[in-house]
């Protein structure tokens, strides 16, 4: 026999009703008035009816979590459920569906008997990675709002949370060459064609600061260059290092990839043993982000072998690595 796994919480009106019923019980015993026995029993009956109707609602529905689209860390995504009322008779009212361990819940005010509706729950993950979605909780406080009854539905799904892409990063240098090497003219040449001035961001090369303009403005501004179109850069992500720094490196790589995509540029991506050949577009970006979502970020993470000459690769790592990289990003 299947065990009914239900959790019941008494809500405020329910508490008042129970208190009122107890008070009426005392008055009934005291007076011996027969009609008060009838009223007392009717109140107990309403409590029982509440339990029966809520059980009818909960046992009538099946909930199936839909294939969950990947989410981005720090952003509100959604989890979708298909809710089916598989009984005849009364509709199911006021259904709340929640994934255990997640904030937010889906709500359906009414599902007619025999029909299926889709419910959507907002969800937000703060860290990227592969998250497990375990049991669901379906709850209702129907019919009177006296009690909230919950039913757990077992289920196992995975949810991929991509790294956030909104971390501010500077534009990479345009040409090959190690950081701080060569003449200023050569550096300028490597950076490509001057495009505009923009506010200074963390990680910008201090040598790019345009001092004359910075003196006139409230904060420092730096020169921004249009990279040369000639080479296809590779983003080489190395996640070996302290976890926090490695996570930050992943976010920098994600932001860089998003920026390339937003500019319509082609880039290759390599992290650990896996490589994504140079390509452009949203699909390529999503593939890179999916890969980043599943990366191990720890000192034991596999090393990344550069897929091309170091001069064509932008290294993103928790700490600088030796080599003549096109550019180097560290948190």
């Amino acid at each position: 026999m299947a065990r009914l796994a239900r959790r019941i919480r008494v809500l405020r009106p329910g508490g008042l009703l129970i208190g009122g019923t107890l008070a009426l019980g005392i008055a009934t015993l005291n007076t011996g008035n027969n009609l008060l026995y009838l009223l007392l029993g009717s109140l107990l009956g309403l409590i029982l009816l509440s339990g029966v109707l809520s059980e009818r609602v909960l046992s009538a529905v099946t909930v199936r979590r839909r294939t969950v689209p990947p989410m981005t860390a720090g952003r509100i995504g959604r989890i979708e459920y298909d809710v089916t009322h598989r009984r005849r008779g009364l509709p199911a009212f006021s259904l709340e569906i929640r994934d255990d361990g997640w904030q937010g819940e889906a709500f359906l005010p009414l599902i007619e008997a025999g029909s299926t509706l889709r419910a959507t729950s907002p969800a937000r993950a703060e860290r990227r990675g592969v998250h497990s979605l375990g049991p669901l909780t379906v709850a209702t406080s129907f019919p009177f709002g006296f009690f909230r009854k919950e039913r757990r539905i077992e289920g196992m799904d995975t949810l991929i949370v991509r790294p956030r892409t909104d971390r501010p990063v500077r534009m990479p240098r345009a040409a090959a060459g190690g950081q701080g090497q060569g003449s200023s003219l050569a550096r300028v040449a490597r950076r490509g064609t001057f495009r505009a001035l923009r506010p200074w961001r963390s990680g910008d090369d201090p040598r790019d600061v345009h001092w004359r303009s910075s003196a006139r403005l409230p904060g420092p501004v730096v020169r921004e260059y249009e990279p040369e179109r000639g080479g296809t850069p590779w983003i080489v992500l190395d996640t070996r290092g302290p976890p926090d720094a490695a996570e930050a490196a992943i976010e920098i790589a994600a932001a860089l990839a998003a920026r390339f995509t937003a500019q319509g540029r082609v880039f290759g991506f390599a992290a650990g043993p896996r490589r994504l050949p140079p390509d452009g577009g949203t699909g390529h970006l999503e593939a890179a982000l999916d890969h980043m979502a599943t990366l191990d970020a720890s000192p034991l993470a596999p090393a990344t072998v550069p897929p091309a000459e170091a001069g064509e690769c932008i290294l993103v790592a928790p700490s600088p690595r030796p080599g003549d990289w096109l550019d180097v990003y560290t948190p």
Partner: protein, 648 residues
């Protein structure tokens, strides 16, 4: 109808159902007459939020005044506190119902309505209370469910869903479960405790002469054409043959001062006849009286009270009761009357406290002469009594018209001038004439007759059947009754007229309600238990009768059918299925609506154009945007046209 309007209507209905239950006992109080229209108004209209804000202060002031009044009366006149409490409750209910429906108001209105029901329970309401309670539970279930759905939808930023009438009705039917639990708790919870909060049963306004002093002549004024039932009597061991002409003895009076009858303190109690001979057992339920008199057939030899009541026998042999409930008791009476011969043979002797039963007021010589002349030919007390009884019955007339002046209300005026009166004049005259002749006698008040109610198998004795007669003392036989009142046109109110059966039915219902609900007690519970554990014993009469049981079964089946009923398909689907079945029977079969449309067009079926149009409308109504109402209507017409063509 919008969810908000539906909710408002249900909330008002819930409060009105509680008021209906309340008035079944308390009657139409003035505050009820004010509250009902306001609640009806609230079902359709509520003030704007701005106006309600302005109304809040005066409403609170009035509520505070009513609350202060109730508190003051709770101390000043505790017995009357319930009325101001009810006024306050009704006022709060109206205020709550008129308040802008903010979707939390239903819980407060529910609490207030419930409080009103609790107050109504104190009034010994009639069967209408049960109907009101059932309605209240049904409307409460619907109202709270709709209100909760609205609250939840609003809390989640969604529009409140429309709830179909069928679903609403099913919720109402589900409330039968709450009522069933109520009945179960009512039946099985042991009736044991009593306490401080009980309200005594409301005494009846009946004043038929059962107090310690009864004035001659005032009697008729209160009993005339009063059809209210005073006693309901069952005969568990069999109904006596003369059930409609029995004497229900209440109280005896020994002292007469010429105007009033009163009761003396006797030095010794009257002996009770041994419980042998012809015995009749009666279960009597009486309305609560101002003077707690217990009734029974003559002569009561044993008495047993029901739970929560105490029966006492005073020195006159009369029965009284103590208790805060409507009196119910069982009396065993010895109804065999000694034969005339045996009474003639009895020696003349006085009963205990004998001189009290020979007392006469200052009477005129002509009254003494009358007594002497009436009893001149009799050689024993019995013949003397019979002679006086016969003379009064045959030469006087019965009337309920009262004497116009005080001098005309005297016994002598009755005997020598008016020569007509009601039973109390006759019984007084006979008692005084017997006493003048030296026969110990006393005046007895009670009821005579009754109307047999076949709906409930009981005798209903109404207040206009109140009666007075005479008891004379015969040594060895005890007190023997004589009735000198001539026959009157006393057709029973319950049986008379074309409404007689309806009256009997309603009274039978009220009797069952009183027996099995209001006065259901530990005795009933133990009796039910005893029957359950002794199946061989003949079952007692079905308490609610086959009709009510049948009604209960019908209600249960209807409720079950409603809860389990297959949901009705949408109208357009039903029309589509009808169309498909009809064409399938004619040999046009295809997969799905589009397939059928193709087949009908291809084979040029009868009514194909209408059928294809109906199918298009079906798809639009079922899967298109909007509510599909227009498409549904058009589809129905198209289906009708198509089927008409097909039949041709």
């Amino acid at each position: 109808m919008t969810a908000a309007r539906l909710h408002r209507g249900l909330a008002a209905g819930m409060a009105l159902a509680a008021i209906a239950a309340f008035t079944s006992g308390a009657g139409l109080e003035p505050s009820v007459l004010v509250a009902v229209p306001l609640l009806l108004l609230s079902a359709f209209w509520s003030p704007s939020p701005e106006r309600m804000v302005r109304l809040e202060t005066p409403l609170r002031v009035v509520a505070l005044v009513l609350a202060a009044r109730a508190i003051w009366l709770a101390f000043a006149a505790p017995a009357a506190v319930i009325t101001p409490m009810v006024d306050l409750l009704l006022f709060l209910m109206c205020g709550e119902a008129l308040r802008v429906r903010d979707t939390t108001g239903d819980a407060r209105l529910f609490s207030l309505s419930l409080a009103l029901l609790v107050a109504g329970a104190a009034y010994r309401p009639g069967p209408g209370f049960a109907l009101g309670l059932a309605l209240f539970l049904a409307l409460t279930t619907m109202c709270l469910a709709v209100g909760h759905t609205r609250r939840q939808a609003e809390a989640h930023g969604r529009a409140a869903p429309a709830i179909r009438t069928g679903v609403l009705a099913r919720l109402g039917m589900a409330s039968a479960l709450a009522l069933a639990v109520g009945v179960l708790v009512f039946m099985v919870f042991p009736r044991h405790a009593r306490g401080w909060a009980g309200r005594p049963a409301e005494p009846s306004r009946i004043v038929v002469g059962f107090s310690d002093v009864v004035g001659l002549g005032a009697h008729g004024a209160t009993i005339e054409a009063n059809p209210a039932v005073a006693l309901r009597v069952q005969f568990p061991d069999g109904v006596p043959e003369t059930v409609a002409d029995l004497y229900w003895r209440g109280r005896s009076y020994d002292r007469f001062d010429g105007i009033r009858w009163s009761r003396s303190r006797l030095p010794r109690p009257m002996p009770v006849r041994p419980a042998e001979g012809t015995l009749v057992r009666q279960v009597i339920r009486s309305v609560p009286l101002e003077t707690p008199v217990a009734f029974g057939l003559e002569q009561p030899v044993r008495a047993r009270p029901r739970a929560r009541l105490t029966l006492l026998r005073d020195e006159h042999g009369d029965l009284t009761y103590r208790g805060r409930v409507a009196p119910a008791y069982e009396i065993l009476s010895r109804t065999d009357v000694p034969s005339a011969d045996s009474l003639r043979r009895t020696a003349h002797a006085l009963p205990p406290g004998g001189v009290h039963f020979l007392q006469v007021p200052a009477v005129s010589a002509r009254l003494r002469a009358l007594s002497d002349s009436l009893t001149a030919g009799a050689s024993n007390d019995y013949d003397r009594a019979v002679a006086i009884e016969r003379w009064l019955r045959t030469t006087f007339a019965y009337t309920l018209d009262l004497p116009a002046t005080a001098p005309e209300a005297t016994l002598e005026h009755f005997l020598f001038e008016r020569r007509e009166g009601h039973c109390e004049y006759f019984s007084t005259a006979m008692t005084v004439l017997l006493r003048v002749a030296g026969v110990p006698a006393r005046n007895v008040n009670g009821f005579r007759g009754g109307d047999w109610n076949s709906f409930g198998d009981y005798l209903a004795v109404t207040q206009n059947q109140a009666h007075s007669w005479v008891e004379a003392w015969f040594p060895g036989a005890g007190w023997v009754s004589f009735d000198p009142t001539p026959a009157a046109d006393d057709a029973g109110i319950l049986t008379g007229g074309s409404l007689g059966p309806l009256r009997r039915l309603l009274d039978g219902l009220a009797f069952r309600w009183g027996t099995w609900v209001l006065d259901y007690d530990l005795d009933d519970q133990t009796a039910i238990l005893a029957r359950a554990f002794r199946p061989g014993e003949a079952p007692r009469a079905d308490p609610f009768g086959p009709v009510l049981w049948l009604a209960a079964v019908v209600v249960f089946l209807a409720g079950a059918a409603t809860l389990l009923r297959r949901p009705r398909l949408p109208a357009e689907t039903r029309a589509w299925r009808r169309l498909r079945r009809a064409y399938a029977a004619a040999g046009f079969v295809a997969e799905g609506p589009r397939g059928l449309a193709a087949v009908l067009t291809e084979r040029n079926a009868p009514g194909a154009a209408d059928a294809v149009r109906a199918i298009g409308l079906y798809l639009a109504a079922r899967f298109g945007p909007g509510d599909g109402r227009a498409e549904r209507e058009a589809m129905r017409a198209a289906v009708t046209d198509a089927l008409r063509s097909l039949r041709r």
